[in-house]
């Protein structure tokens, strides 16, 4: 549904698919064994049981194999995570302010919006700032989120790779209207973005002048 909207999508998907495959294999194995044993060794057919106290080789097998598998899973998860940590130096920096219950976005030139507009294929670094309680900046299509904690000023980054409009949710429960705390990320072509940004800048200047005149 969200094919590669950001540069994180592939690593999250492949780690997920790998782990799920291993999990489905083990779940199927355990369930099949249980069903086979329940039928094969049912008391109606099998009056006497055989006592088996255990088997050290088996215990070692089913300790070592899962341990190796989970360490591989851990490695994939860690490797994918390291992609998310450091924003590239050429990132566009946008300040994100969360408050009960809305999002505000501020661009380097001072433009402020309620919806996040970004150019495609350009890394964006978000400075996450909360006015009140904990929130979490969550873009499901980009397969990432980061908590927005007061006094903490977390940062995060992403690289949009697909044009379109994607949902922004608040993922950390923040009170009455938490579930209405939506916004959107609009990924545009660089040219369109530049036009939009300068138009916004003009508009904002006009507004400022108008309000200054009014004063």
């Amino acid at each position: 549904m969200f094919a590669d909207a950001s540069s994180f999508v592939q690593s999250v998907n492949s780690t997920f698919i790998f782990i799920v495959s291993v999990c489905v294999f083990f779940l199927a194995l355990i369930t099949t064994m249980m069903i086979i044993f329940v039928f094969k060794y049912n008391r109606k057919k099998n009056k006497k049981a055989v006592n088996i106290h255990g088997s050290v080789p088996l215990e070692i097998t089913w300790t070592v194999i899962p341990t190796i598998l989970v360490i591989i899973m851990f490695y994939f998860g860690w490797e994918g995570y390291t992609l998310m940590v450091n924003a590239p130096a050429n990132s566009m920096v946008i300040k994100v302010t969360a408050q009960m219950w809305s999002w505000k976005f501020e661009y380097p030139n001072g433009v402020k919006t309620d919806t996040l507009y970004v150019p495609i294929n350009k890394p964006v670094k978000v400075l996450l700032h909360s006015q009140d309680v904990d929130h979490s900046f969550y873009v499901p299509a980009f397969k990432f989120k980061k908590d927005v904690i007061p006094n903490r000023n977390n940062t995060a980054w992403f690289l949009p790779e697909k044009l379109g409009k994607f949902d922004v949710f608040c993922a950390e429960y923040c009170g009455l209207r938490h579930s209405y705390m939506y916004s959107a990320v609009v990924v545009m072509k660089q040219k369109d973005f530049d036009t939009w940004l300068s138009a916004q800048e003009e508009k904002q200047k006009d507004n400022d002048t108008t309000s200054a005149v009014k004063l």
């Binding site: 860690w78 903490r152 923040c174």
Partner: protein
């Protein structure tokens, strides 16, 4: 309560704990009893009543989520519903359930003891439990309304909300003390009151699981107690420990909260694993596979489980070192659970399996808990967790672990031990029908949560986007099926206590632990003569050749 005399009845039995009231009569013979069995029954009555409240709240939450918004209640009511549902189900139901009902009733009997080490402390812990639980209910009706923070009480929101936070936090604090006292009591009982000859490795695995749990209760619960006390101080005096507007650190709260609340997951699940470890060999009529591995894996879970709390916080912005260590340890804590699952499955091999209701629940436990555990592994991976944390995936995961694990474990224990406790058998056919309805309803209810999570649906949401609705509708229909199954199950069990077929045989299921060697229902102080234990549990000697020959001759 037909007779108060201690004389032996017609069948040569001594009066059971249900008849022998001791010094006091009537209701006081219950409320002031220090008999571990009577206290266990009192816990059962209180706890299952609160379970009914929790189920009702869950049912209403699902009803509300049938449509994207405004089905039956407003957002404030919804937020209070899911908070209460969490607080009641976690702190009042699943954390105390198995230790305080079945641990109280059966641990001393299984160890060959007359009672727990501190019977009066045991009664005190019941009273603390009841006071704490009633305070939670009071918080609903008092001005301000029930807490609306979610059961995690995250600061700063929990300092700002106008709801009855102090009441709720004090209640959870008191419930914590009840839990600590139970832990202290069981640890001492296991160390000091084992029957002559019962070495550590001759204990039933249920006792091992309560031993591991006891240590977590005693070591981890004080942390949440202190933390909640600090939140109360913060709210009342504005000290500024956690509140960022006063210079505090909200992340410190999260660390302290999860330092208890993650080990609490193991307080919740390990006793249920103990129940399953009892039931599987009994209904397979053979020795358990890998006794020591199962026993030590409980301890392994208790140790590793105490070192993984921050995996709830991968998205809060911790240092990379912390993310690395907590993710790695999270993956490793899966191993002892996997060992248990493999050993249980191997115990079925070459058994003589009878699918009685307790066994059905035990097998369902393995299946559902495996899904719970495996979905936990999925979230142990850092990059995947960053995507899935705080979505419906985690809600599905916790319900598979806590309900599919502990909830189903409680039902297994009820079907296994209730006939022993009351000397009456339930209708097995009805029990099996109820089981299948519960099993099907459970999966229709909770599996869509995992899909919703992967599609990006945030948790604790009153309102959702229309594209998620189809999964919510399926889940809500599942909740109706599940509740129907629960009603049939509890009706059947309650009916059995009142008018079920009377059972007097000591060994109802063919178990080999000591509770099956006492009278049904057990007498006051459990045994006429304290038993001497010579062998490990689950030996099933009749499977060996010479015993079989003897049986054939008979």
């Amino acid at each position: 309560m037909s007779s108060n005399s201690l004389a032996v009845d017609k069948s040569g039995n001594l009066p059971s704990y249900l008849i022998d009231e001791g010094k006091r009569k009537g209701i006081l013979a219950w409320l002031l009893s220090t008999d571990h069995k009577r206290i266990g029954i009192m816990y059962m009555i209180a706890l299952l009543s609160f379970f009914a409240v929790g189920v009702t709240l869950g049912f209403l939450i699902r009803l509300e989520l049938l449509t994207p918004q405004g089905t039956i209640v407003n957002p404030q009511a919804y937020n209070e519903f899911f908070t209460l549902h969490g607080v009641i189900m976690i702190f009042i139901v699943v954390v105390p359930a198995i230790p305080s009902i079945f641990g109280n009733f059966f641990l001393p009997i299984m160890l060959g003891a007359k009672d727990v080490a501190f019977p009066r402390l045991n009664l005190l812990s019941w009273y603390l439990y009841v006071v704490g639980s009633i305070m939670i209910l009071l918080s609903i009706v008092l001005p301000g309304g029930a807490a609306d923070t979610g059961w995690t009480f995250y600061i700063p929101y929990s300092v700002r909300t106008g709801t009855n936070m102090i009441f709720t936090l004090t209640a959870v604090f008191i419930l914590g003390f009840s839990s600590i006292l139970t832990g202290v009591n069981f640890l001492t009982t296991i160390h000091r009151l084992r029957a002559p000859g019962m070495g550590w490795f001759k204990m039933p695995l249920f006792a091992w699981s309560l031993y591991a749990t006891g240590w977590i209760q005693v070591l981890a619960t004080p942390i949440v107690g202190i933390t909640l006390l600090l939140v109360i101080i913060e709210r009342v005096f504005g000290v500024g420990l956690f509140d960022p507007t006063l210079g505090g650190d909200p992340i410190l709260f999260q660390h302290m909260f999860w330092m208890y609340s993650h080990p609490a997951v193991y307080i919740i699940i390990v006793p249920a694993m103990g129940v399953i470890s009892e039931i599987i060999p009994v209904f397979s009529r053979r020795t358990i596979f890998g006794y020591k591995f199962i026993a030590f894996s409980s301890i392994g879970i208790a140790v590793f489980g105490s070192l993984v709390w921050a995996h709830h916080m991968f998205a809060v912005g911790m240092s990379n070192n912390a993310e690395f260590v907590f993710s790695l340890l999270t993956f490793l804590v899966a191993i002892p659970s996997a060992i248990k699952v493999f050993n249980w499955t191997a115990t079925l091999y070459k058994g003589s399996i009878e699918l009685e209701p307790p066994m059905l629940y035990a097998l369902a436990f393995i299946f559902l808990f495996s899904i719970g555990g495996l979905t936990g592994i999925i979230q142990g991976a850092l990059n995947v967790d960053i995507y899935l944390t705080d979505t419906y995936f985690i809600v599905g995961h916790i319900h598979y672990v806590v309900f599919g694990g502990t909830g189903i474990g409680i039902f297994a224990a009820l079907h296994y031990w209730l006939p022993k406790m009351f000397g009456r058998m339930y209708n097995k056919k009805v029990a099996k029908v109820a089981f299948w309805i519960i099993f099907v309803g459970f999966n229709i209810l909770y599996f869509p949560f995992l899909i919703l999570g992967w599609l990006g649906m945030p948790r604790r949401s009153y309102h959702y986007l229309p594209r998620f609705q189809v999964y919510h509708v399926i889940a809500t229909v599942g909740s109706w099926i599940l509740v129907l199954g629960l009603i049939i199950m509890f009706f059947n069990l309650l009916k059995s206590i009142r008018s079920g077929k009377v059972v007097t045989e000591k060994n109802i299921w063919g178990g080999e632990s000591l509770e099956w060697q006492t009278q049904t229902p057990p007498i006051t102080e459990n045994f006429v003569d304290i038993p001497v234990v010579n062998e490990a549990p689950y030996e099933y000697k009749q499977n060996e050749e010479e015993f079989l020959e003897k049986e054939e001759v008979l």
